[in-house]
Symmetry: C2
Subunit: 348 residues, 2 copies
DNA sequence: TCCCGAAGTTCGATTTAAATG
DNA sequence: GCATTTAAATCGAACTTCGGG
């Protein structure tokens, strides 16, 4: 491996000068262009690449950000990760990816490993997380700029980026209503999930606005679970029960896309066509939604944007820390968007 | 930050002794249990965590593996990444994730960054890659154990893990044939993609075995593209053309699942039901396949296994390098598996 | 010779303080 | 005093060498 001393020797200057020149440090002002040229050419010729370990040891900087995903297999992750990666790339940071499999022990172990690597910031993709306050103890005291995607935390230690679930819920029901649906079934999220209640609130607001009555016999709740696939299965099972109760509905509003896929499966098995006999709307707009037939009408979370936003917050946090300014958490809330495809149909 | 010297001071021993004890180095044999206890307790009490930069600088090891994905948005990545992550976790390695967006410049920049970080190994997820030999120049000379997932490379510089496409193609056609299908349409992969030709070879072998005639007017080719979504669109378009040519078929064998989704969309738009009027089989078994209705019959690539396998190879390579043994590439080929779901139906 | 522990060197780059003409 | 350059200290851990009992 070629070191700075090799470059020094080859160029005939000291390693100090080489360092100053190659880093374009303040003192480089005083160094004549000829010297710079010589040094740069020597470095080039030898193929010199500074040792990042040495550099980091000295500067205490890693140019690395930790990314912690709660369950990688959730299709929700894909685009968020793309957003994170892209923003990091532009800032010349590299991400260390960890997947905690929704396991507490894994979370703790990974967090220690990341802290040991002196990550400068942390992005946590808390999709499908049943959050436990303890998990954050380590985080808060670490004083590493952190952004949580998908759930919000009280206090100003940890930033967050979430979708506006209330607006999303409102948009979903408004769409069904505008299509003429009045008998609507609902599959709500698990009570322990933070998204569930605001989404439902939005739905109720919309119902009130349009004087739509919600039949409580057409409302089902997803059970708590830490497996993203389970919401597909639960969606199927609950829809099946709804159908068997013979209380018919012309549309179904699902908690998320996975649930909607399960609902469509159940409807289809029972001999009902979507959207001819029953409209279905989801939430998230994960990749499969546009691929399925019929493609799913849904409320899109701007996932890539959310990833980018989280990185932006973390990067600003890092700058704060470097300049020893006070660091306060930011809480971003992005607007969801109705995506009309073909799983919903007008009754009018 | 508490350093080894702080621990030395607090325990009353020298930093040498502390280092030996905490790392359980060979010399630790000679150190009495009392001393060890004292040192360990001091370290514990102070919350000492060794500085990885210093450690890496000295040992020249990073305990980091680079992971390079060609297009993160491809659903094919998800499970492979899970496999990679899991194996790395068990070996206490951490992955740096990079997504090259199928762009040459990004590949090169990321490769340099990873090399600068002194990654000990590299896993490349070359899904949907139109490989260019030049890209590998840097790789070969870097002498970093590397495993390519999804495509194979001549020579013994770079290891690889691929699915046995020929068997997969065979299985797919055999399944359709066993269901009684004789008029079968095919959408082949792009000619520039390495997977395409062996997959087609398997199909032809199977056709010969069962004396099935392949009607060349029912064979279409996916165009070259570097966007995974494009195979959905192309699948839809090609199927549409196939339908319009009025040369009917009872089953369609698609190059991959994305293509199959496109085909199903086209059939549905043209008023044909899957599988009642036309069976469709895919290849890969990406996540959406089991979520769609009807769920897709397909040839599964054991993606998680492939990720694990690649990491295993890389880890062995790292051990090789450490022990200065000769490093030779391994070329793994894993068996695909027929997954029968509901997009195919028996004619018998 | 065996056991225990410490002093000092090394890894490679950055930075401070200081020395030249 | 100024422009130009550099010796030496530093970051934190790990390893080599050595000395005392």
């Amino acid at each position: 491996m070629v070191t700075i001393r090799d470059v020094a020797k080859a160029s005939g200057f000291s390693s100090t000068t080489v360092s100053i020149v190659l880093n374009d440090a303040p003192l480089a002002r005083y160094i004549p262009a000829v010297t710079k040229k010589k040094i740069e050419r020597a470095a080039e010729r030898l193929g010199y690449r500074p040792n990042q370990f040495a550099r980091s040891l000295r500067s205490k900087r890693s140019h690395t950000v930790g990314v912690m995903v709660f369950d990688m297999t959730d299709p929700y992750c894909t685009l968020v990760l793309r957003g994170i990666e892209n923003s990091l790339y532009q800032a010349s940071y590299l991400p260390i990816l960890t997947d905690v499999h929704n396991e507490r022990s894994r979370f703790e172990r990974y967090l220690e490993m990341l802290l040991d690597r002196r990550i400068e910031g942390l992005v946590v993709l808390a999709n499908w997380l049943f959050l436990d306050i303890n998990l954050l103890g380590d985080l808060e005291k670490s004083s590493i700029p952190t952004a949580l995607i998908g759930c919000e935390l009280k206090g100003d230690a940890v930033s967050s980026v979430i979708v506006d679930n209330e607006i999303g819920g409102y948009l979903a029901l408004e769409h069904l209503h505008s299509l003429g649906h009045r008998k609507i079934a609902f599959i709500r999220g698990p009570k322990t999930l933070a998204d569930s209640s605001p989404r439902w609130r939005g739905i109720r607001n919309c119902a009130k606005k349009y004087e739509l009555e919600i039949d409580s016999r057409l409302v089902a709740d997803l059970p708590e679970s830490r497996d993203p696939l389970s919401s597909f299965q639960a969606g199927q099972k609950l829809t099946d029960e709804l159908i068997r109760h013979k209380r018919w509905f012309t549309a179904l509003l699902a908690f998320d896309d996975m649930t909607a896929f399960g609902a469509i499966r159940a409807l289809s098995k029972a001999g009902y066509c979507v959207p001819e006999q029953c409209s279905v709307i989801g939430f998230d707009d994960v990749a499969p939604s546009s691929l399925c037939t019929p493609p799913l009408t849904t409320i899109r979370q701007p996932m890539q944007t959310m990833g980018m936003r989280a990185v932006k917050i973390v990067l600003e946090g890092i700058k704060c820390v470097l300049e020893k300014r006070e660091l306060t958490a930011q809480h971003g809330r992005v607007a969801p968007e109705l995506v009309v495809r073909e799983s919903t149909r007008s009754l009018l």
